[in-house]
Symmetry: C2
Subunit: 159 residues, 2 copies
């Protein structure tokens, strides 16, 4: 178990691209329906697969559990048991000692780019990179499980 | 991944008790809401904990994945993230080369006793023990995830 403290922002412009250290393709989906107290995510990242369980609350701090599973299991679950799918490229950017994860969504969420940073405490102060837009930590529409079922392109106010 | 072939029956009377080889206490609950394509179960059994993912279909054959997890994680998830709870004692009974799992439910499902047997093929023939009642393999009300949310004692036709 870990308490994950994270803040999430929209990304403005393309300035971040020059700062990318590495990128990885991610495919993920969700097990179980809506309305539970937790989300259960299956993720394929490179040649690894994992199960992730997170409290279904909105905000900066969420309890999280993560377990590696066999890749073949992950792929099968994604193809046969998951509801909703997310495809994205995760770019890693270092800024003032913090690692930002910039998720560039594909498929039905194309056009959406979101930056996340993991912090050591709820009130940690950090330098805002110039490409950082509006904070969406408290906006559940930007949570991957929501996007999986209600893709960005279907939003009335997208783009 | 494994395809689990299982048949499930009600248990009649107490005759089975004399045949019990061993018994173990089980506490379990479910992550994620209803309406998904899979159930995600957290189980504590003795001093072990596991995550189990099963296709949400009713019938004899269901795809199943199972992973051991740290006991502390399992207990925490059960206490904080699970929806619905099942407490039961599982008794193991050997009959004509097959192992029957007899689940004696507690809590809000007290009064319900169900026997399950795992088979090698869908049409495997087996000897019916004398305490075996009506088959409920196709009746989703007897699935643990249903019982967790709609306990036996709340059924209009329960005892």
């Amino acid at each position: 178990m870990a308490l994950e403290i994270e803040r999430k922002f929209l990304v403005v412009g393309q300035g971040w691209r020059a700062q990318v250290r590495r990128s990885v393709e991610i495919r993920q989906g969700y097990l179980g329906g809506e309305g539970g107290r937790a989300s259960v995510r299956v993720r394929l990242q490179g040649n690894a697969a994992s199960l992730n369980i997170k409290a279904a609350v909105v905000g900066r701090a969420r309890t999280e559990y993560e377990y590696d599973i066999p890749y073949a299991d992950g792929r099968e679950m994604l193809d046969t048991l998951c509801v909703g799918r997310i495809d994205k490229i995760r770019h890693y950017v270092e800024c003032d000692g913090l690692t930002w994860e910039i998720d560039e969504f594909g498929g039905d969420n194309a056009g959406l780019v979101v930056a996340e940073v993991e912090l050591a405490s709820l009130d940690q102060v950090f330098v805002r990179p110039p490409w950082l837009g509006r904070e969406v930590t408290e906006d559940q529409r930007y949570y991957n499980q929501y996007l999986a079922l209600h893709p960005y392109r279907s939003w009335p106010d997208a783009d």
